[in-house]
Amino acid sequence: MNFSSLLIIVLIVLAGAYFLGRNRARAISHQGMRMHSLPNQYGTLMALWTGVPALILLVAWQLLETPIINHLLIAKLPAAMQAAEPAIIELTISKVYNLAASAGINADPSLTPAVEHLIALNERTLLLNSGMALSLCLICLVVTYKRISPNLRARVEMEKIVNALLLASSGVAVLTTIGILASVLLEAWMFFQIVNPLDFLFGTSWSPQVALRADQAGSSGSFGAVPLFAGTVLISLIAMIIAVPIGLMSAIYLSEYASSNVRKYAKPALEVLAGIPTVVYGFFAALTVAPLIRTLGADLGLDVSSESALAAGLVMGIMIIPFVSSLSDDVINAVPQSLRDGSFGLGATKNETIRQVVIPAALPGIVGAIMLAVSRAIGETMIVAMAAGLAANLTANPLDSVTTVTVQIVTLLVGDQEFDSPKTLAAFALGLVLFLTTLILNFVALKIVQKYREQYD
């Protein structure tokens, strides 16, 4: 029996449970008893009680299956192997899995008992777990069916189960976040065992090459991340200098001045900017904007490197414009018309009304929009990788090439790596910093936006 037929059978059983429960409740009430809840609520309760325990069983099974099978397999290995180091055993077990999959061809006779055992187990487990799930379904069904009586508070019980299901779903999202955070934290922790956190956070030299052989010269690796932070801040700053004024002004134009016809076309057109893949922005920056800036700089007698923070920042700014303008447009539109009327009614001009009433009223929302845009800028990778370069220069000169946290994470992890070398682990430490920064920014932004909502809803 395979998984999809199991699923279909379970669904059929659930539907059956629903109708059984409903009809039973109807039958009881036809005998003149007053039921606590409506018949379909009894039906739903039946279906829930039938389905949920089996579902939990299947999930638990999936989680526990591999460790249990591994345990059983180890017992079938030759005694000498069982005594080996855990890492070796792990290797052997994966070999067993491979052999079982490529049925028949067995290079290592000592593993045969384990392989055969695994094949037998595989055949049995699916049958076993679907059998268990189905019998659990049926047991629960019978038990719940017996419980149906005028006194069973089906509606209340149903609400509780649904409540728990919803809680479990949101738990999945939260747990995933926690899981990611935990793994990043763990790897970062390992990194900080090798590299002093203070050197990492405040060191000014970044060159993550690590010697491959002990006698190799000149590359002990240095992990001072300040140039990366500085590069990130520099590029984000340039981007915001472009995006905030342009985005805000276009939002004001769109929401306050544009006729509905103009808005109909201009707003989607602006939002198209947000839909362009960042790679496209990246080569636009690298192949069009960067050379342009270089030529312009050369004409002015400036020394511009061919990959500059300015080029990346400018293009990133353009990319972010729709974030600022679209969100700001929304909050400006949400400012009640009555405030504008009040201001016009006092003889204020449109300009005065916008500057002194509309913008202050929308300000918290606008600040929130800008913070979201900032966290977007900090997290952006592609444009910078293509247009700003990889050189970890510590500079405030936008005409130099710089690099950012995200770009370095990519370069650290591209290619074959050892998982415990500081070079690889450094990526997790950088990721942690990035994660915390954007988390704080988003948190603050959301708080601000929320506060704004409370005011006008």
């Binding site: 006729s259 509905s260 009640p336 009555s338 405030l339 504008r340 009327d341 009040g342 201001s343 016009f344 009614g345 006092l346 003889g347 204020a348 001009t349 005065e352 002194q356 009433v357 202050p360 009223a361 005011q455």
Partner: protein
């Protein structure tokens, strides 16, 4: 009485009663208002006298707000709205070619149905108008204007200790008085009020009605209201609108005791749903 019946009664209607007065502040002549294709006011002519409170009443959707908003050109802010006819303020047509709405609205202020304080402090709310019109030469003068306006609006004692707290933090009735203070602060000649008490409880309403009575000494006031008691309490004349027609204008007492027009009578005796 249903709509078809009442439609017959106002076909080719000429306003009954006394729409004109001697001591005129605003006079509207043959005003038509359109929202796009739809006509909302039909040929309304009405005088509003100096230092008088005129109440505009009528069933929902009959065009009271629309008419009121023509008096300071607030309808200009609605794209699809067109106004035909003349409205004279001190004998000057406010729809004339060279009229600027900014000084006009400083002269003809407006208070709205829902209190709409700006998201600023109480002080700044009241100081907003004087600031944009440059009415105060110094901070001291501005302070005086703010205090005087808040006193006029009967709010001073309640807020004098927290002038710099946000205006949105006041109660509904206080907010509405703040909006009245804000309007008074630019020293208008006419104040238009569109259902100023509909969001307030009876006590706050009573306060505002009292205030309207006091304000009459200095200002001309046009007030839209759904409460006949309110119209009776605060106004000297009452204008009854129906389906965009100005049906009847008469001294308030007369409208509520011996209405001339059948529709007016039907309305004040509660025969419209």
């Amino acid at each position: 009485m249903n709509d078809t019946n009442s439609m017959k009664l106002i076909e080719n209607h000429k306003t009954t009663g006394e729409p004109f007065s001697k001591d005129v502040k605003i006079s509207a002549r043959n005003v038509d208002v359109f929202y796009g294709e739809k006509q909302a006011i039909y040929d309304a002519s009405l005088d509003i006298g100096k230092n008088e409170v005129i109440a505009l009443i009528g069933p929902s959707g009959c065009g009271k707000s629309t008419f009121l908003r023509t008096l300071n050109r607030m309808n200009d802010t609605i794209d699809i709205c067109r106004v035909k006819g003349d409205i004279l303020l001190d004998n000057e047509n406010i729809y004339g070619a060279h009229v600027d709405t900014v000084p006009l609205r400083a002269r003809v202020g407006m208070v709205f149905q829902k209190p709409n304080p700006f998201p600023k402090s109480i002080y700044d709310n009241v100081a907003y108008g004087p600031r944009i019109h440059g009415l105060a030469q110094s901070r001291v003068e501005l302070d005086e204007i703010v205090e005087k306006s808040l006193k006029r609006a009967g709010l001073w004692n309640e807020v004098k200790d927290r002038l710099h707290a946000p205006g949105t933090g006041l109660s509904g009735g206080q907010q509405q008085r703040l909006c009245i203070a804000r309007t008074i602060a630019v020293d208008p000649e006419v104040i238009l009020m569109d259902e100023p008490c509909s969001a307030l409880d009876p006590i706050a309403t009573a306060k505002i009605e009292e205030l309207i009575d006091e304000l009459r000494e200095k200002y001309t006031i046009a007030i839209v209201t759904h409460s006949m008691q309110q119209a009776a309490r605060v106004s000297q004349r009452t204008a009854y609108f129906h389906l965009g027609q100005l049906v009847e204008v008469n001294p308030t007492e007369k409208v509520f005791t011996k209405p001339e027009h059948k529709l007016t009578e039907a309305y004040i005796t509660g025969r419209f749903g």
